[in-house]
Symmetry: C2
Subunit: 306 residues, 2 copies
């Protein structure tokens, strides 16, 4: 089956992630059927999508498909070419939901789970056709961030999912081996531990650590990943020179990294620091600022890198 034939998409779960996915699918001309016991009426859902659809228009994604509501996961999946599942991160619940979706979806359909912290092998265990179940983990906000992390056992299924997500404007990265947290959230977690440690130790405030990241490594990583950055850090000799001459000092730095514990006092310090940075802006206002800035960066990046 050709990926061009993916027209009908089921979205299960309409929280932040489900809303982002729905907007992305609809804005790329897919016909989307949503199931979420708490999603409300079609009008409520259309209202929830408005901001994300406006962002997608700015990215040139404005081929609007249809939107429908289903009363059950089975009803949503029954005619789908592609299912994107975004239920809460509880293994038993998700495993059973995937089993039901697998039982209801047409034989050719791909069933992707947005799980951020569970393993494919645990989730797909009870499915009759586990090979068509894949991890398709997006990064918040899913309708803007290019990354989607894929894992599954069947290369042909992954090829079709890759082609589909790419058509939507995403940049899939395929894991060769499953690991809890996939790639990006593990990198983020490793960095956050040190970001928390620096605040705990009084080296800098929450806002100062975030500013250093934004104006330093973060900005650079938006263009060039960590491995290639250290390649350039090796000068003309590149990564080979770097690892030979500075590998030992990198290992000493690893030994010196912090291992903070989230005590009540430390949590309070982090909350106060974040509130100082937010400076009265709500989470919604911060999201809107973030999304506007992400769109600007994505457009700028598209002009200079392939």
């Amino acid at each position: 089956m050709d990926e061009a034939a993916i027209q009908k998409v089921a979205v299960i779960g309409f929280g932040t992630v489900g809303v982002g996915w729905t907007a992305l699918f609809v804005a790329n001309g897919c016909d989307v059927t949503v199931h979420d016991p708490a999603a409300g009426s079609l009008a409520d859902m259309q209202a929830a999508l408005a901001t994300s659809l406006a962002s997608l228009r700015e990215l040139g994604r404005d081929q609007l498909g249809t939107l429908a509501v289903a009363a059950s996961p089975e009803e949503a999946a029954a005619a789908a070419d592609f299912v994107q599942e975004n239920a809460p991160e509880r293994l038993d619940f998700k495993r059973d939901l995937l089993r039901r979706l697998d039982g209801a979806a047409p034989a050719h359909a791909i069933i992707a789970t947005s799980t951020s912290s569970l393993l494919w092998s645990d989730l797909a265990r009870d499915c009759a056709q586990p090979g068509r179940v894949i991890v398709g983990h997006p990064f918040n906000p899913p309708h803007i961030m290019p990354l989607v992390e894929l894992f599954g056992p069947d290369a042909a299924v992954l090829d079709r999912a890759t082609a589909f997500y790419t058509q939507l404007g995403m940049r899939p990265v395929r894991l060769r081996k499953e690991m809890q947290g996939h790639i990006a959230n593990r990198l983020a977690s490793a960095l956050y531990r040190e970001a928390v440690y620096l605040v705990e130790q009084g080296v800098a405030s929450v806002g100062e650590v975030d500013a250093a990241l934004r104006d330093g490594p973060g900005l650079r990583w938006a263009i060039m990943g960590a491995h290639l950055t250290y390649h350039l850090g090796g000068g003309k000799g590149g990564i080979r020179h770097y690892l030979e001459h500075l590998g030992p000092s990198q290992e000493r730095r690893w030994q010196d990294l912090g291992q903070p514990v989230l005590s009540p006092e430390l949590k309070e310090k982090l909350v106060e620091g974040v509130e100082a940075v937010a400076d009265g802006r709500s989470v919604e206002e911060l999201e809107a600022e973030r999304d506007a800035a992400l769109l600007a960066l994505l457009r700028a990046r598209a002009d200079v890198t392939p």
Copy 2:
């Protein structure tokens, strides 16, 4: 003394970092005197600056100051309002060099060291006026990246340095307590450890890890730091909700992070992975691509964030 009076700058050391600083100072109208035993003639130095000056023109920094060569650190510092030292990262060498610069510079001058891995308290120990010696650590490439990390014992000196660096278009972040690696390189090192681990474990290739970073957390961190990102990860309840409900799972993730050892086999795997990504492009070519993309992102970001 007013920071507007900083006109004469001495640059000690003309490697990658020194060249970047020199370009930045010259492009902002400062009169710069460089000392480096290996820098060659004035014509050689002008040639080395050409690319960086072109980048700075794109950022609107084109008030060219003068360039001169000095035969010794003392001669370079003798008439300077501000000294930026970029010698190799050897404690004894740098400590003695700072002592000499402190002995030679006018009483009002600030002496900043670009050290990435040494501590102010070790470096300034032998200076007669240690209070005017500060850490002023840039991020590669120094003429483009906004971040400069400051540490020193004298708030008035740091205020003057902050004002000066800000005038150049930089975004200084001041450490409240010194720590080896400052802020940004500690964050980078923490992330790199996990990036190396994922390759070691066969979860993804060097190029795949870098792609996930670039299209995921890196892109987002160019706009919003790690602390504020987890604030948004907490939904309407923000960071307080996040830490209360997801703090324990974050701590479990921290426990699960990798602790790779840079064995000869792993180094070889990293080198091969980087070479596959570089795909024949030299370090110079990759730097040029990176710098063009950084300029595009900085311009885009300036339009949407303060």
